[in-house]
């Protein structure tokens, strides 16, 4: 019995699962092979790659002090682009959830000097787990941020995170260690910040009860602790 090889996968693609076509009763053997290893007597089944959404780490907030995703607190700021003469944004995401953001702004100052600012952000999941590494490089400072993801300790959902940042002159540094907790109706986020001249602590508590008829599914699971 002849068989036909169906191979639409590009080179260096995800592993391909193949099943030999027997002449007798089917006794399928499944193995993972590279494209070049496929025999003409095998039927190729291509497993589609799992696409991971390009989500930001939980502890990276849109607004530094309040992150209430439910409420539209930024409607007066978002989308307006007149503060800078030119803004260019590039966003690239991979199927593994890694994301690259580049933002360039150019502004013509009063003295006709062109002021350009750069901002680069890169974040990706570690080992396909809930952990994320987030890197931000600006023309003034750099920050490396580790997010441990929402994990359960004794049934309570917690998110540990830490970040280390330094200025361009490599002198002013800061270190943050944070713990966020996720409960049914309220969440908290507390972080200790260490700089070269100050130790400070910031705490935020969000109380966001589900009303009668609301479903907990209305809260996006990843950003649940943002009261979203």
């Amino acid at each position: 019995m002849s068989s036909k090889v169906v191979n639409t996968a590009p080179q260096n693609s995800a592993p391909i699962t193949t099943t030999p076509v027997p002449s007798g009763p089917p006794a399928s053997v499944v193995r993972t092979v590279k494209t070049a290893e496929v025999s003409p007597n095998e039927v190729v089944v291509i497993t589609p790659p799992v696409v991971r959404p390009a989500l930001k780490p939980n502890s990276i907030a849109t607004e530094p002090w309040t992150s209430f995703g439910t409420f539209d607190t930024r409607i007066f700021k978002d989308d307006f682009c007149h503060e800078k003469h030119f803004t260019g944004k590039v966003k690239a995401s991979s199927v593994d959830g890694a994301t690259f953001n580049l933002k360039e702004t150019a502004n013509l100052e009063k003295d006709n000097a062109l002021k350009i600012k750069d901002e680069l952000k890169l974040w990706f999941p570690l080992n396909y787990g809930p952990q994320y590494l987030h890197l931000r490089v600006k023309d003034t400072d750099t920050r490396v941020h580790y997010d441990n993801g929402i994990t359960q300790i004794n049934g309570d959902k917690v998110n540990l995170y830490a970040s280390f940042g330094w200025a361009r002159n490599l002198q002013n540094y800061n270190f943050k260690l944070g713990l966020a907790t996720v409960f049914k109706d309220f969440n908290s986020d507390t972080r200790v910040r260490l700089t070269s001249d100050r130790v400070s602590i910031r705490s935020m508590v969000e109380y966001c009860p589900l009303r009668k008829g609301d479903s907990s599914l209305q809260r996006p699971p990843i950003r649940a602790y943002r009261c979203a």
Partner: protein, 143 residues
């Protein structure tokens, strides 16, 4: 936010929001880092910005918003009204005008899955001498 080194309350923020059907009401009190409270008996030093924002989502295309922002230390306030209109999934316009007679306009056009272009302008109408004309262009590339 507490400065443990100097034992000083650096900053406190408070947000209370209520959502009912198409209405969102947000009361926000924020304190700037450079304005810590030195005299707690003076309420004007508690927060550097107080705001009340209301948004009404009429349908998937139209959204309306109004905001009043006050600075307790300067005893000044600014009211802003905003209209957001989505022509379709690819085109968006926002128009805002505030009590200082400053008009802000933006238009966003999503060309395809990769490209989007926005244009914005701020135009002081009669009255405000401090505001200036501002123009900007934004290009988004999503790979």
């Amino acid at each position: 936010m507490l400065d443990i080194t100097k034992q000083l309350l650096l900053k406190k923020d408070l947000l209370v929001g209520y959502k009912h059907k198409e209405w969102d009401v947000i009361v926000k009190a924020e304190q700037a880092f450079d304005k810590p409270t030195k005299d707690f008996s003076n309420f004007a030093e508690w927060f550097s910005s107080l705001s009340l924002t209301t948004t009404y989502t009429h349908n998937s295309k139209q959204k309306y918003a109004a905001s009043v922002e006050a600075d307790p230390a300067k005893a000044s306030w600014l009211a802003t009204a905003l209209v957001e209109y989505k022509y379709n999934d690819k085109s968006l316009t926002k128009v805002a005008v505030n009590s200082a007679a400053v008009l802000s306009v933006m238009v966003k056009k999503t060309i395809n899955n990769l490209w989007a272009v926005s244009g914005g302008a701020q135009l002081p109408l009669a009255g405000d001498k401090t505001a200036k004309n501002k123009f900007g262009v934004q290009i988004d590339l999503n790979i």
